[in-house]
Structures are given as structure tokens and as C-alpha cells.
Amino acid sequence: MHKRPLTRRLSEGLVPAVPFLWLCLLFLVPFLIVLKISLSDPAIAQPPYRPVFDWSDIAGFFSQLNLENYELLVGDDLYLRALLSSVRIAAVSTLLLLLVGFPIAYAMARAPERYRSLLVALVILPFWTSFLIRIYAWIAILKPDGFLNQVLMGAGLISEPLGILNTETAVFIGIVYAYLPFMVLPLYATLEKMDDTLLEAALDLGSTPWRSFWTITVPLAMPGILAGSLLCFIPAVGEFVIPDLLGGSETLMIGRQLWSEFFSNRDWPLASSVAIVLLIILVVPIVIYRDAEARRVENVR
């Protein structure tokens, strides 16, 4: 019993080893390759970069690396503007998501208990339907002759159709719509656990509802606010589909830039360096998110 047979120890070791090796091979190694290619020259060839994997020549390997692509990124203010604009659009969208998502999550947490699981299911359901389809649905709404303008003009509120499609406003609407479940669910999870008697005590002691909201509800909901915001902000920075379908040609976003470097210009090394820069920007929020998640799991335990 105490001397476990070798075969069993081996099979127990396989449980962590198989997924670990899979992720190393298909998640970690690809990043090292991106890093590598971002440092190489573009070439008109298939694949369109000069391969720098020549194992026989270690010294040559290092001499071939160059920062040309990064110099190009810094030198051309298109990329800098695209990066800044992505971070700005993602930050504004995250703020809007908090404003829209908090009242919904709060109302869900206050709802009678027997309805709560239904409400949660209703928030999750749109997430199961295709992301692409949900964004497509908004094109028909926001078009100059779309549903929104038909309704507003029919009601006599506006005389000229609003040009929302192909603007940054449409991108904000799209991101808020697509990411709303990711904001509402973490908020709901923390708000649902909140102890009501705290609010009652504050009211009894003469605090205004507004003041008790800011001094009790918001601090207690902080883990949910943090998780929801990161869950929305990080992917939104690199968003491609939403700015491509709803945004105009002047809506600069780095994910779109990477896509066009790759698919239109076929400049793989430059696309790789765009990916690396994007990753560097997102490393800090990703690490915060991972720690917050690991802590949450730890707390449940």
C-alpha cells in the first residue's frame, strides 16, 4: 500500500503533465516564435519572412536579430496612434459597461431568490449565441435607414437620420453590448453575497442611501468591479470584429492594424512586432487578473 507501484505513480504524474505540456507546446512556444519573427526581416517568399532558425549557426542567429520592425513601429505614428486609441476606446467602453452593468447586476441581486437563477440564465444566454451574429444585428439597427433611425424619425424626434454606423459611437455600443455578460456576472456574484443588514444598519444610523451606496456597497463589490473590468478591458484593447464591422475607416484600433498588416500587407514580421507591443501593454492587467482569479478560487476553498 505504501510502496506504490511505478505504473501508478507514472499514471498519476500524467494528470498534470499532459495538459501542462500541451499548453507549453501550443501556447508558450508560439509566443517565443512570435518574439523571434518580430525581430527578423520581411521577405517576399512563402512564408513571408526570412527564417532565422538555423540551429547550426548560433552566432549567426544572434547577428540576424534586429529591431528594425520596432523602429518602424515607433517611427510611424500610425501605430502609436492606433495603440493609444485602442486603450482609450477600451477604457471608455469599460467605464460605460460599469455604468450599464452595475444597475442590472444590483437589481438581479435584489430580486426574489426564486427568480435569480432564471435572471442569471437570461444574462448568459446571449453569450452562447454567436458573437459575430450579435454584432451583425447592430448593423441593421444603426444604419442610416436602419431601425433606430426609423423609430426616431417616426416619433418625430429627429428629422435627419443619425449617422451612427461607421463611427466610434457604434464601436462603443458594440463593445458594451457584446461584453455586458462579462461585466454583469462577476458584479452579480459579489453583490449577491452582500449582507443586507449592513445597509440597514447604515440607514438606521442616519446615513443617506446615496452615501451608504458609496461607503458600503461599492467597497464590498470591489472584487467584482475589478474582475468585470479586467475581463472586459483586456480583450477589448485587441478587439478586431467590432471596430471592423461597426467602426469607420478612421476608427483606429491595434487589433485591426495587426489584421491588415498580416492579411493585406502580408508583412508577418511587422504583424508579430505589433502583437508583442500589444502583449507588453496587456501583461500587467493580465497578471492582476490571474492573481485575482487565483485568490478567488483560493477563497472558495
Binding site: 501508478r8 494528470v15 498534470p16 495538459p19 501542462f20 500541451w22 501550443l26 501556447f27 508558450l28 508560439p30 516564435i33 512570435v34 519573427i37 450599464v100 444597475p103 444590483y106 437589481a107 438581479m108 435584489r110 430580486a111 426574489p112 435572471l119 440564465a121 437570461l122 444574462v123 444566454l125 446571449p126 452562447w128 449565441t129 454567436s130 459575430l132 451574429i133 450579435r134 451583425y136 444585428a137 448593423i139 441593421a140 444604419k143 431601425f147 426609423q150 455586458l180 475581463l231 483586456i234 480583450p235 484593447v237 485587441g238 478586431f240 470584429v241 464591422l245 489584421w259 498580416f262 492579411f263 508577418w268 504583424a271 502583437a275 502583449l279 497578471v287 487578473y289 490571474r290 487565483a294
Partner: protein
Amino acid sequence: MTRRLSPFNVTALVLGFAFLYLPILLLVVYSFNASRLVTVWGGFSTRWYGMLFRNEALMEAAWVTFRIALLTASVATILGTLAALALTRYGRFPGLTLFTGMVYAPMVMPEVITGLSLLLFFVAIGLDRGFWTITLAHTTLTMCFVTVVVQARLVTFDRSLEEAAMDLGAPPLRTFFAVTLPLIAPSIVAGFLLAFTLSLDDLVIASFNTGPGATTLPIRIYSAVRLGLSPEVNAASTILIGIVTLGVIAATLLSKRSVIRSRRNAH
């Protein structure tokens, strides 16, 4: 204290759910529109559904997408469950920090980065792009979601059941199949469905890793949408939404029944 919803809370819920559901509802309604113009009502018709089923390229894409999603979800469920067990039942082991990092990062990482890096990896090892590269890429992404779903169940359930089985002399593998697996089965099913849907739905990662003969449904829909609105896309979307809605309702009913049954057994 009986809770009553304040008018403010009711408004928040009504507006919130209207915002979530109206766009989808409009899309479904206008898939039955007789007019080719997607935003002008021209009477009821199912002609776009007929055209859809005669569209061979679209049918072919749907079949490829389904096969990729099925294979992806199957492999991702196994890998994700193993990873969840490793994260919850093995204590601290060397590489744990790296492991959790690799599980959580792909879920929030912008898809353009994941897609590009996997493509460059496949090119570097000389694997031809197509069905298999998309499947490998999707499996890597979705196994992380399965891990998180199964892990959430593993950390909350009663460890004493496993310990009791071990004390009674059951070997670890037998304990796993007789005790642990039945208890975490609902979360494994949920993880499988999640992986399946994510794979079915993915445009960005599939676009980077696709090759000849492996055009998936989202890639087809995306190229149609770029050319403008089309009632056929509405019809295809409605079918997808219908399938997903039925699936979610079925899953909810099933899990409700199993909850009731397990409660009954407990008494």
C-alpha cells in the same frame, strides 16, 4: 425580510434585458422578411431559408465547422478536466505558477495575438494549414475554459467523500471513476458545451489558421457581412440561435432534474 424590487431596480432589469434581446429579436423577425432589403418589411416569407439550404458553400462550411467543434470539445474536455484536477488535487508542484498563468491568459488574451502566434508556430513546424490546425488552435483556447468550469466544481465539493472511498481501500483511479467523476459530471458537460460553442463561434483564430478546404461558417458569414446586409445571413443566424436556445433549455432542464434526483437521494 421579504424583498421587493424598487421601481429603480425593475427599470434596470427591463431596460437591461431589452438591450440584450431586442437586437437578436429584430434579426430573427427580419429573417422571415419577403423583401431583399433587410430593414424594410415586405411581408412574411421563408424563401431565405430555402435559398440557404440550396447554398452548397454554406452547407459545406457548416459541416466543417461542426466537425471541428465536436473534435475540439472532446479533446478540450479531457485536457481541461486533467488540468483542473492538477490545479486542485496536486497541492503545490514546480511550475504551478506558470501552469495557472497559461490557463488564465488565453481566456482574456486578444484573439488576434493567439491566432497569429499559433499560425506562426504551425508554419515553423511545417504543418499545413487547414482542418487540423484550426482544431489544434481551438482545443488550446477552449481547454482553458473547461479547466475553469471544472475547477470551480472541484474546489466546492466535499472532499470527505473521496477520502472515505480511499480509506475503504479504493485505489485512486477507482475513487476517481466511482466518486469524483459522477460528482463533477455536470461541470464536465457544461465545459464540453462551452468548448463546443466557442469553437463554433470563433472567427479570428480560425481566420489565421485556416487553409484550403477548411472555410468555417463564421469565416463565410464574415465575408458575406463585409459585402453588406443579407437576408440569408439572417436566416442562417436564426437557425444557429434556435439550436443554441434549444440546447441551453435542454441543459437547464437536465441539470434541474439531476438536482432534484440528488436531493431525493439525499433524503
